[in-house]
Symmetry: C2
Subunit: 321 residues, 2 copies
């Protein structure tokens, strides 16, 4: 991050025609964008949304109310412009890219084997890394993959502790029996892979999925290129948890776009010291919460760049008690 | 509200390519707009933001860190396009109207007399009523007035009980001594007007201000015309509290845009059973939070109107547990 740009942005905020701090997080977001864009007045000319999609062998355990075929069907829906993320990306004036990752080759059912071998894991990480443009003003990340809230819960439990019940939620809307089954599946997976639970990347490989690995790779690429990142919901947040475990500063170029309705997300964000921008009870994934949060960043930049200073406007500054 | 339109909108939501309920409040907002616009697929073609401005005799007590002249200076800033609300209304594609209300004639200092007499109060209410266009898709309301968080706290305390300390906040940023003074001022005002505290409109007249009265009038006009309303922060919420006290259903065409950082706002919203859309620590007023929330309503409408249904997209519906 560029602290000179951040300090210049903060100084500008204090000169704008409003009480200091009165735009709340919109001020902090402008400063954060300035820090990562390396300019005192950040811009949002080219914003990218990338949705990674993967399939999961663990769906064989019955952890989702939807058939695994829906992953590819939704990718086709994105291509035709029919999904929520298409509408939200258009509204946010962001370019949407969807990256399907070997959808016809699901990961292994991680109750019995590592989800991916090393080569598969690195392929997915690299696909994520390579999907990030070398230059863009802001990157919003999201995912699609039937079964992937099970993988996300397993990663959270593996790296943060607590039993499966603390992290497993209803995902796309599983019922009570399904929820108990999903918890059992995660507990089985944790037992199966207990030898690697201390190794964040081995956890990502063994309990994750291709789209989670790609999000991890894309987050590293964005940091390398100095691109600020908006993380979507529970799955996206769990996908980058291994990075935070490896380096406490690894996510300072990231903002949590929202806290979702998925059961474990609020606790996951708190454990990762991420402060979500929105709390709208969303739980769709596909970068929908991140795209909604782009709108708030546009609001932050519009105020930061467009407002008059006290001097320019001839407005008196504070004088009283 | 049109329950047929609302039911049709809810039925459409259940057919869109996403798990039922997974867009959270964005779904509820689409249904709410459908109810008040009277159409199953709401539109946001013409959105209006109205900012009412007034001056307050109680500023003589030293309740604000800014001189009262700032009210008119900020109105001039709005006219030149230099304020936060200018940037936010432009971003939200909303028409901004600013209505200054007798700025050279402040209300009376309500520690000693009613803020307004009946004629002044009704003039302000009518100015608000008349400012609302007969047709618009959505109306965002806000205010500017040095000293008006003192009036808002007085109204909240008068109509909801609790002492001044429960409702008085730092407004534009008053210090600790100023905060204690402001609490004393509100307690003085409550004692001075204790005879009318059971009468919501008398409270609005005696402890309020012209811009608060105008917001009350505009909210009534919007209900009359069937226009959904976004309420801004603490002052705007307190301004419509008298309507809720008169009729428990009076604000069902209104959404609280955000919960502000002003101390009493969260408790005020809770007491009024209003669920804020945003929680960004904003405390600027001038409809800034309401304008930011327009962006969320645009997101809700974009998804509702633009998404494909399961049948259209050939995506499988839920089948599993």
């Amino acid at each position: 991050g560029n602290e000179t740009s951040a300090a210049a942005a903060a100084a500008r905020q204090d000169q704008l025609t409003k009480p200091t701090g009165s735009l709340g997080q919109l001020e902090a977001l402008a400063v954060w964008l300035a820090r990562w864009q390396g300019q005192a007045v950040p811009r949002l000319d080219d914003v990218s949304v990338i949705v990674f999609a993967g399939n999961h062998g663990v769906t064989a355990q019955g952890v989702s109310p939807y058939p695994a075929a829906v992953t590819a069907q939704m990718v086709a829906n994105y291509a035709r412009g029919g999904a929520a993320i298409n509408q939200l990306a258009t509204l946010a004036q962001a370019k949407l890219t969807v990256v399907p990752l070997d959808l016809d080759r699901p990961t292994a059912d991680f109750t019995g084997a590592p989800a991916m071998d090393v080569a598969q894991f690195l392929d997915a990480v690299n696909a994520g890394y390579d999907a990030v443009p070398a230059r863009c003003a802001l990157l919003a990340l999201g995912e699609m993959g039937i079964g992937n809230t099970t993988a996300a819960a397993a990663i959270a439990a593996a790296l943060l502790g607590g039993d499966a019940a603390s992290w497993v939620g209803r995902g796309a809307g599983i019922g009570d029996d399904g929820l108990r089954l999903k918890q059992e599946v995660v507990d089985m997976a944790l037992a199966r892979h207990r030898a690697v639970l201390g190794d964040p990347l081995a956890v990502a490989m063994s309990l994750g999925g291709r789209e989670l690995a790609a999000i991890l790779g894309a987050t590293v690429a964005a940091r390398r290129h100095g691109i600020p990142v908006l993380l979507d919901g529970f799955v996206c947040t769990a996908a980058v948890l291994p990075l935070l475990k490896l380096n406490a500063d690894a996510l300072s170029h990231c903002q949590a776009a929202h806290v979702s309705a998925e059961a474990g997300h609020r606790a996951l964000l708190a454990a990762m010291k991420l402060n979500p921008l929105l709390d709208l009870g969303m739980r769709l994934g596909e970068a929908s919460g991140a795209a909604a949060a782009i709108l708030l960043l546009r609001a932050a930049v519009a105020c930061h760049a467009g407002m008059a200073t006290f001097a320019e406007a001839g407005v008196a500054e504070r004088s009283g008690p």
